[in-house]
């Protein structure tokens, strides 16, 4: 799939360089701050488990207690392990319970005590990271044994009943019917919870909560199915929202394979504070890098609020930024499921060829990344017959432009969360297109229209990046550059969970990553 557009290498290099310059100040910001969720993620790796009777996880109670006593600018690790050492308690979870009950107080040790606390913290979190490493090795083994999907793009299907025990058979059925990747989408609102719910979900709204237990149950079920179908079936969830770092951690601990994880989605679509988001995403990506998880970014969402033609270059800019942030956090190219979508108004003349131009541009800008190709949603209507047709052309565009991960569109997109039969019809659609026309790229040689459009989008992207370099990324976000959502850096949810780190900030996990 090399070079159908003949992009000018110098122009591409310039775009990357601009993205790095635009992104660097934000990286610096992320390096100099921590958040409550980053600290909770550290504690999760250190072994704190479970929740209080109200469902508030002990990691939250513990971080709150530490913060109340000594603040977070030093990190939780040292005060917690100092307290552990001094309390005679063996288990960090028990310590958290005591702290919540007010029977433990935290302080900052110095000298030898500090060194001991660090050593203890490091040992505890290293155990957590070892579990993550074991899971990754486990995945590698299973892929070796069962194999990868036989075709590209990989077929990605969503389940969303709100009940994990209903989700499981549906996910298994989907995998048997051909899905390579299963995503359990989350209940509405989880993004804004500043804690990760516990246990198996029986009643979510338009999705099922991301919990460690749900992850475990679904992964185990899909391991069974992988064996049955002779192909490793991947599991996806969302490291997004106020608990990005923790969910990434749980994903690593439970061997999830892909995670939705975007550098700006939470800011734009959940009104989460920009700094909170940038700090959280950096840590969560470091975890993903370690866990061998493929991230999926969220540029597709911009095209649900902005126009897919007018805003095409904002997708490109965001992909370049996501790439820069991801590399900085240690992710390799094969882990970058950069997002984009088939969202052009289908009534527009040459709409399909414009889609091809956009999709091919992404493909050729990021040749090693397993791009995530999202189906039409905005222009889907209750006319389900038309919907199935649009999804077919979306599938074709995916095959023609060599996309890596094909999120399967549902004819009922504008109606309901997918029914069992919708998924079956959708998979049949994908199978027909990939089987009958999957090799059509051999006969696809973009002409002047498609090449011209791709060049235009790339040059608009460079223009926008230049402006961002001048004005600063935070200001660009505040101005509504992405998805027409205006998000100033000093507003948004979760800001009070952001803390500038002190000189003595210690995070045993970051050190390792």
């Amino acid at each position: 799939m090399a070079g159908k557009l003949d992009l000018d290498a110098a122009v591409v290099a310039r775009a990357r360089e601009l993205a790095a310059r635009a992104g660097q100040p934000v990286v610096d910001l992320a390096r100099s701050h921590t958040t409550v969720s980053v600290e909770r993620a550290v504690l999760r790796l250190a072994g704190v488990r479970g929740a209080d009777p109200d469902g508030i996880p002990w990691v939250n109670r513990l971080v709150d207690a530490v913060r109340a006593d000594v603040g977070l600018e030093h990190g939780v690790a040292v005060p917690v392990f100092h307290a552990l050492a001094g309390s005679g308690v063996e288990d960090v979870t028990v310590l958290a319970q005591k702290a919540a009950a007010g029977s433990v107080r935290f302080s900052l040790p110095s000298g030898k005590a500090a060194t001991t606390a660090r050593r203890l913290a490091k040992r505890a979190t290293a155990a957590g990271l070892r579990t993550v490493d074991r899971r990754r090795a486990e995945r590698d083994r299973m892929i070796k044994r069962y194999g990868d999907p036989r075709q590209r793009p990989w077929i990605y299907l969503i389940v969303a009943t709100g009940d994990i025990h209903e989700d499981i058979p549906q996910a298994q059925a989907a995998a048997r019917a051909g899905a390579d990747v299963i995503a359990v989408i989350r209940s509405t609102g989880q993004s804004l919870l500043d804690y990760v719910p516990e246990g198996a979900t029986r009643e979510g709204f338009a999705g099922t909560y991301a919990t460690q237990e749900n992850f475990r149950l679904m992964r185990a079920a899909l391991d069974e199915t992988s064996k049955e179908v002779g192909r490793y079936v991947r599991l996806t969830n969302y490291a997004s929202g106020l608990c990005m770092p923790e969910i990434a951690t749980l994903a690593g601990l439970e061997r999830l394979d892909m995670m939705l994880n975007d550098s700006m989605y939470g800011i734009l679509f959940r009104d989460i504070n920009p700094i909170r988001t940038f700090v959280d995403q950096r840590f969560s990506r470091q975890i993903h890098a370690r866990a061998g998880i493929v991230i999926n970014t969220g540029e597709d969402n911009y095209l649900t609020t902005a126009d897919a033609v007018d805003a095409a270059h904002t997708v490109t800019v965001s992909q370049l930024l996501n790439e820069f942030f991801a590399h900085e956090a240690g992710l390799a190219d094969w882990q970058l499921g950069l997002g984009h979508a088939f969202e052009i108004n289908p009534d527009l003349p040459d709409s399909f060829r414009l889609e091809l131009a956009h999709a091919l541009l992404a493909r050729e800008l990021f040749p090693e990344a397993p791009l995530k190709w999202m189906p039409p949603t905005k222009h889907m209507t209750g006319d389900v017959f038309r919907g199935n047709l649009l999804d077919g052309f979306f599938n074709l565009a995916g095959a023609l432009t060599g996309q890596g991960i094909l999120l399967v569109g549902m004819m009922t997109e504008a109606v309901v969360t997918p029914w069992l039969s919708d998924r079956d019809i959708a998979l049949q659609n994908v199978r027909y297109v990939l089987n009958g026309a999957g090799n059509l790229h051999e006969d696809f040689t973009p002409g002047p229209f498609i090449r011209g459009r791709a060049d235009q989008v790339l040059s608009e992207a460079i223009g926008l990046l230049e402006r961002i370099v001048d004005d600063g990324l935070l200001n660009a976000i505040a101005d509504g550059t992405f998805g027409i959502m205006k998000r100033p850096a000093d507003r948004g949810k979760g800001l009070d969970g952001v803390v500038a780190t002190g000189a003595d900030y210690y995070n045993p996990v970051s050190e390792e990553l």
Binding site: E166, V384, V415, V416, W419
Partner: protein, 243 residues
């Protein structure tokens, strides 16, 4: 067992419905569409799409929950009430039971020219990996082809001393298949006394298998029939006590 339609949760009762009403599109038309959905037992019914076609018609798509229950114990079907035999067994049964070849006459009657279905049953080539009745040495098959008139069919059946007459009907507009089948069975009743009448079989993709008595035939075969099923039935009905 009592069950309900399944959208994405057990018992949710969800179904999809589409239809056209002969009225232009406006709020009242949408209300009329919902009224129909309600009368069909959908409650709540969500009107998710409405599109006017020409001046006076509107197409609707409705999703919703049906209140009806399905009782699988009350389901009536024509279950196969005879053993499915291999070609070898069929031939052996005919040889032993009849001591002569069994004569089969097939045709598409009326103005129907869709022979692919009857050919699938009769011709060597067969369908779904099974050879057609012509491949059975003990069956004497006459395939009259398409657009055969009922008198010609009766005549040929008489000539060939047909044990069974196989008729195909594919076109169903204005119930053509039902009219033609009734005309055919009436003609045989008229032409031949009860004992002399061949077994009457009709087939085609849109028949309701429960209607045999109503149409005056012995058996109906519908979508996806294979030659072996028909051969086995012939043995069961004409040779009897086989195996």
């Amino acid at each position: 067992m009592i069950i309900r339609p399944y959208g994405d949760t057990t018992g949710d009762g969800m179904v999809q419905l589409s239809f056209t009403l002969p009225i232009p599109h406006d709020k009242r038309a949408e209300g009329a569409a919902l009224q129909l959905a309600n009368r069909m037992g959908m409650d709540p019914a969500m009107l998710v799409h409405a599109k006017q076609m020409g001046d006076g018609y509107t197409f609707f798509v409705v999703y919703g929950k049906v209140t009806h229950l399905v009782d699988t114990d009350q389901v009536q079907v024509v279950e196969r009430d005879f053993p499915l035999l291999s070609a070898k067994e069929v031939n052996a049964a005919v040889k032993r039971g009849l001591r002569r070849r069994l004569s089969v006459v097939g045709a598409c009657i009326g103005t129907d020219a869709h022979t692919v279905g009857i050919d699938a049953i009769l011709n060597l080539k067969g369908i779904a990996g099974e050879k057609g009745l012509e491949s059975y040495p003990e069956l004497a098959v006459t395939n009259m082809g398409a657009q055969v008139s009922v008198p010609d069919l009766v005549e040929t059946a008489r000539e060939r001393k047909a044990d069974a007459v196989l008729v195909s009907q594919v076109v169903t507009q204005r119930d053509a298949h039902l009219h033609n089948t009734r005309a055919m069975s009436a003609a045989f009743r008229e032409a031949l006394p009860a004992g002399k009448r061949p077994l009457l079989i009709v087939g085609g993709p849109r028949f309701d298998e429960l209607m045999a008595a109503d149409l005056g035939v012995d058996r109906i075969f519908s979508r996806g029939t294979t030659p072996r099923e028909v051969a086995s039935y012939l043995v069961h009905a004409l040779v009897g006590g086989s195996k």
